[in-house]
């Protein structure tokens, strides 16, 4: 039986994208899988009694070395902020390509703590900073220095000792451009080096907390239990900066979604599902419930989604355990159809992620297809006709073409870049100044405008002639020819409407990162946790691919 890929007009709606969950395709999981055979080492740990100083961690295989350089600095209470307006952080990090020399460390000591206003070189690959969860960090130091393990309930509520507030790569602030490293086999998946940085930072947080506790009470202090460490991740505060990324990289977005959709299609097409695969699917599903019951958030929006997810999952588990006949052919297809008919988007996408768990042979090859050579699709095929382009718009954007942009609510917001921080922001067009400097992220509105202009143009005329007078829409002409080849390259929603929930865009990207426990702090930023439950670097060689469901939390 041949199953079709899901319709982009359903999958690419923001509410659906904002219901995605981590899966075997997620970058932090594929990163661990790739680097499990590498040699991990703590090369330098030069911290003072308060935990300030320099530390270096590395992954090495043959001649290739990646080194995380950590700079921990004293921070006054009133200087600590997760917001992008902060200028100082508890710790700052860079991933260096190779083994850093003393001169490199001295150079980086001056630049890395400055973050956006510092300058990195082509020898550095990623850059980040992080702040302590002071409440948790101090509690852990206090406990360990008194010879006892910390309160795991408190740790469970937060999930980490530190949270990063930005992770930069790909040429930002002088970092290496992707072209310098893109042919390295070990980093063929997207954001792999960003994942490495975050993973090694996690280890630094454990080493630092042990070190500070030890110095506080050398005779009595103990180390944080490795099992507790394993159940801690790294937090991350993420704002609107991520939202334009998925609009500005259409072929990359397509390749992420296409990998997920291809995995689902292939799994639904399995005629005889093996018992061991069903057992693994159900085992992961049941164990994963702990990640939902320990998912804490003050956001009413997210609480509602979690409640609905939990209820739907219980309904689903009840169905598969009591009513479903696993001996029938095309088991996963039947399960999928039941989910569509009986549960909400959040649950559907959750179970889709779970369906991938038994199928390494389906998922692993797809991970390698999740990058993109974006430059290849930049040129506009200007010899094509108006009729061709109109046809693409009608087929690929049918719902977008129905939106009435003369209505205020459909044109309510605009995206801009803040002059202060050079970061993307969203504002009300009718209340705020600056909409004349709008970023080209109102794709739905501009596609509709393009369609209207094409409709009064001669069908047989070519795009080069159309562009003479319509270069103001050149950006969407380019995108239309991209979506012709890449069906999942476009969000099929209005990104400037009154009812937009920007965190849906963030959630999409973060789910591909492999984040858990999305905690919206407003409609424009959220906190997440990464690598919670992941093996520690010393345990990587005995890596269990389903570690994400082994969390104690």
């Amino acid at each position: 039986m041949k199953i079709s890929l899901r319709n982009p007009n359903v999958v690419m709606k923001l509410s659906r994208l904002g219901s995605f969950h981590q899966s075997k395709l997620s970058f932090l999981r594929s990163f661990l899988k790739e680097f499990k055979g590498w040699d991990y080492k703590r090369d330098l740990f030069d911290l003072d009694e308060f935990g300030y100083g320099v530390a270096i961690y590395s992954f090495k295989k043959k001649d290739r070395v990646y080194s995380l350089i950590c700079f921990a600095n004293k921070l006054n209470e009133n200087e600590r902020s997760d917001r992008v307006i902060a200028k100082k952080w508890d710790a700052a990090f860079t991933l260096h390509d190779g083994v850093p020399t003393k001169a490199d460390i001295e150079r980086l000591k001056n630049e890395v703590p400055k973050q956006e206003v510092g300058r990195l070189s082509y020898k550095e690959l990623t850059l980040s900073r992080a702040n302590k969860s002071v409440r948790v960090f101090d509690h852990v130091v206090e406990s360990l220095s008194n010879g006892i393990q910390p309160d795991v309930n408190l740790l469970s509520k937060v999930g980490y000792l530190y949270r990063t507030t930005a992770v930069y790569g790909s040429g930002k602030f002088g970092l290496a451009d992707r072209f310098r490293i893109k042919n390295r086999e070990e980093i063929c998946g997207p954001f792999r080096l960003e994942m490495m940085l975050v993973y090694l930072v996690r280890q630094f947080t454990f080493d630092q907390v042990n070190h500070v506790a030890k110095n506080k009470n050398p005779k009595k202090a103990i180390n944080l239990d490795p099992e507790i460490c394993r159940n801690l991740g790294i937090g991350n505060s993420t704002g609107l900066g991520m939202a334009p990324f998925i609009v500005n990289h259409p072929t990359l977005l397509n390749n992420w979604i296409l990998a997920r959709e291809t995995a689902l299609k292939t799994i639904r097409e399995i005629e005889d599902v093996k018992k061991k695969d069903i057992d693994l699917f159900l085992k992961c599903l049941k164990r994963s419930l702990k990640n939902i019951t320990s998912w804490n958030t003050d956001s009413k929006y997210q609480q509602k989604k979690i409640k609905s997810l939990f209820e739907d999952l219980n309904k689903f588990i009840n169905f598969v355990e009591k009513k479903f006949d696993f001996s029938k052919k095309f088991t996963f297809n039947k399960i999928y159809i039941w989910l569509e008919e009986n549960t909400d988007e959040e649950c559907i996408e959750y179970v889709v992620s779970m369906m991938m768990e038994p199928y390494d042979y389906i998922v692993t090859p797809l991970v390698k297809l999740m990058s993109s050579e974006e430059e290849k699709y930049f040129n506009i095929p200007t010899e094509r006709t108006i009729a061709n382009l109109k046809d693409i718009l009608e087929k690929k954007y049918p719902q977008i073409l129905e939106i009435d942009f003369t209505k205020k609510e459909n044109n309510q917001n605009f995206w801009f870049i803040s002059k202060n921080k050079e970061e993307p922001r969203l504002a009300d067009r009718f209340d705020e100044n600056g909409s004349e400097l709008e970023q080209p992220l109102a794709i739905a509105r501009d596609v509709k405008k393009l369609y209207e202009r094409l409709s009064v143009s001669k069908n047989s005329s070519t795009i080069d002639k159309f562009l003479f007078k319509n270069n103001d829409l050149r950006h969407v002409v380019r995108r239309a020819f991209i979506i012709e080849k890449f069906p999942y390259s476009e969000i099929q929603d209005n990104t400037i409407g009154k009812s937009i929930i920007p965190i849906d865009m963030l959630r999409l990207k973060l789910s591909f990162f492999g984040a858990l426990k999305f905690d919206p702090r407003s409609d424009k930023w959220l906190r997440i946790c990464m690598f919670q439950g992941a093996p520690l670097p010393e345990q990587l060689k005995n890596y269990d691919d389903h570690w994400v469901y082994n969390s104690l939390n």
Partner: protein, 203 residues
């Protein structure tokens, strides 16, 4: 050192701020990246051009012909380049195209380089005495090695180079004969077995 990603982003935003549409600004970002990666002074020339654009009018050349003369002002290198790139499938049928008075012609060059890749032909570009051989947007061979701003080119010619061998048949044959020394003379037995023939060759 600035990364190519920074060069692309800043060039794009600056071009948009100078009045170009976002779609054109995206093209400029990519182009300045191309110039800088090939060691040509893209940022310097773009900066010079955008500063001058504030004070001066440039002529937009939309439809490109065999010979193109600006009526009063200099041609805008960006709009001329966009037109050239967009019309390349028509223009490649022409042997040589001439322009007079293009401002900041280095900004016109990457459009031609990209056009070379699209049509799969080398293009020879000449600005007055400066020569550039544009090889499928893979590299640029030139007699211009200075890191300087070129404010205007009076005479510009673009020649499409047919995909012809750069060597004679005799030279090729000589080299081919030498390469044959790596081959094995096939015996009857090898002829049968070497390519894995079955009982019937045609079934």
């Amino acid at each position: 050192m600035k990364s190519l990603s920074e060069i692309d982003t800043v060039s794009k935003r600056a071009s948009r701020a100078a009045g170009f549409s976002w779609g054109i600004a995206e093209e400029v970002g990519k182009n300045i990246r191309i110039l800088e990666i090939f060691g040509l002074p893209g940022i310097r020339n773009l900066n010079g051009f955008l500063k001058k654009k504030k004070k001066s009018e440039f002529e937009n050349l939309n439809l490109i012909n065999l010979e193109n003369k600006a009526s009063n002002n200099q041609f805008c290198p960006i709009i001329t380049g966009i037109s050239f790139l967009d019309q390349i499938k028509t223009l490649e049928k022409l042997n040589e195209i001439k322009f007079e008075n293009i401002a900041y012609p280095l900004l016109f060059l990457p459009f031609i380089s990209r056009a070379s890749e699209i049509i799969g032909k080398r293009i020879f570009l000449k600005f007055d005495d400066k020569e550039f051989l544009l090889n499928f947007n893979n590299n640029i061979y030139s007699n211009f090695l200075k890191n300087e701003i070129i404010k205007v080119a009076n005479n510009i010619s673009v020649k499409f180079i047919d995909n012809l061998d750069l060597f004679s048949d005799v030279e090729w044959e000589e080299l081919h004969k030498l390469s044959e020394n790596t081959f094995v003379e096939e015996s009857d037995s090898l002829k049968k077995k070497g390519a894995g023939a079955g009982l019937t060759d045609n079934d």
